[in-house]
Symmetry: C2
Subunit: 325 residues, 2 copies
Amino acid sequence: MKKIINQPQNVVEEMVAGMAKANPELLKKIEGFNILVRKEQKENKVALVSGGGSGHEPSHAGYVGSGMLDAAVAGPVFTSPNPSAVYRAIQEVSNPSGVLLIIKNYSGDVMNFKMAAEKAEKEGINCEYVVVNDDVAIKDSEDRRGIAGTVLVHKIAGAAAEQGKDLSAVKAVAEKAISAVNSKGVALSPCYSPSSGQPSFEVGPEEMEVGLGIHGEPGVEVQDLKTSREITEMLLEDILAEFKNDEQKFAVMINSLGATPLMELNILANDTYDYLKDQNCKLYKFYTGHYMTSMEMQGISLTLLAVDKEIEEFLSYPSDTLVKL
Amino acid sequence: MKKIINQPQNVVEEMVAGMAKANPELLKKIEGFNILVRKEQKENKVALVSGGGSGHEPSHAGYVGSGMLDAAVAGPVFTSPNPSAVYRAIQEVSNPSGVLLIIKNYSGDVMNFKMAAEKAEKEGINCEYVVVNDDVAIKDSEDRRGIAGTVLVHKIAGAAAEQGKDLSAVKAVAEKAISAVNSKGVALSPCYSPSSGQPSFEVGPEEMEVGLGIHGEPGVEVQDLKTSREITEMLLEDILAEFKNDEQKFAVMINSLGATPLMELNILANDTYDYLKDQNCKLYKFYTGHYMTSMEMQGISLTLLAVDKEIEEFLSYPSDTLVKL
């Protein structure tokens, strides 16, 4: 796989440096770390920190800014940042209102972010965390991974924090969002490690991986490639099964895993709209684009977020970040 | 090439329908046409119409909204919409302030949009047009194609129109932007026709096409694949050569042709920043993302726009569109 890079071992550092240089009005890099923080820190607001392995851009630095995250920690490609990096981010943005970490449910991320939170608590920083696990491809909810739904948790918790809610309230809002969001995806191609150049898995020319993660894992099953309409129905059926009957109004995220272009995302949007209307669902808002990727993987994930009046108000609260939500 | 679609012959229609259904607060589809218009038409404002072949998403419907375009006409994949479709868009958004067409310089687009403009004039609609030709890969300026720089022309002319300038003033602003914008790109892979499934060209595993168009044309030359830094320098040297010496402050667009992910775009942003600073250029703003694509083509284009105080004011004027600029 060809990539436009310099030295493979420097991809994360150069990417983070590029984001900081290109967006000085919005982002500030912490010297010596692959961490981007909000340029204008707001005092006395719960600070939100997220991050994880790189390769999911625009996650998470694309969501740093007013109304969303205060800091994004970028680990090596598909590898959790270490606890000291996460702690450095916490330290940078901490203020008397405290800090909330938004962690995607992967063992490395959970372990390292929790260690950083414990260190922060020891240092007198009021630090809590939540774990996002929106991927319904995994049946055991303990093991459900955090995928594109994480971005909606950033948006909702970010709005609550920006409005001045206290740490326990922001955490409760984030947990409400987490319990209301479910996702599932398909991959048509693997992604490729910048260092080895190797594909993350093999998939046949007429096949797709169903229920993939975002770290180059294969799906939980392989199926023949289907049409947009068939893929939409298959994914939405599994996703809708996770909601209670009284949750019938949704925000929808149609996310490219990297290489799948907007033409296909919008065809999926058409099929998603038609399917959900057939199911008598109400639709609040669509988010269609590149939100949580696996480098140049071909594929998509669908996410539904059950919305009520409170969540709608958070989703419509203004934010100013590289990727607008 | 695998794609997430239904019937290949319906990709444009389903995509346009999907955009309209997913974004009812912003976009309205004209019945019977693949045209998206701004939901809330503003009276007594020069109306801006753009479009062209499909496959360049988010161009152009992603730029329909306040402060940018009033209508986007989507032709078949990589094929100009016919004059009657363009005329239908003009008719829909025309108002006493007149209509300006923003055309990318391809013979089919220029011919069909001009025919539509002539028909509009005959019907008593005050209709002018400008032609964007930012691609410096083509040396003869008559033949220079319109590529990603077109999006900045939408933004600048859109701001001028939204501010209430008259048709001749908006046209003059658009022409000023066109004369101030230059682009060039490289492709690492072809894109694939939805109907035939065939690649638009062949390029070796260690090669890249330099100076490509956005309709699946091969580049003007083939080179060995280079690093991000080398590609940046090569492209910027050619682009900078097009500017006068007194033009030393630039807005920069780093555009994915489809499959190239944000990780690589931001590495390019890092190299672009460093190179332009070495050349003593001032930088106004970076736009990094998917703006003018060729479906799932791997590759990028770089665009520089010389800015003065007037252009900066237009670029910073608020707009509300699917893709935020």
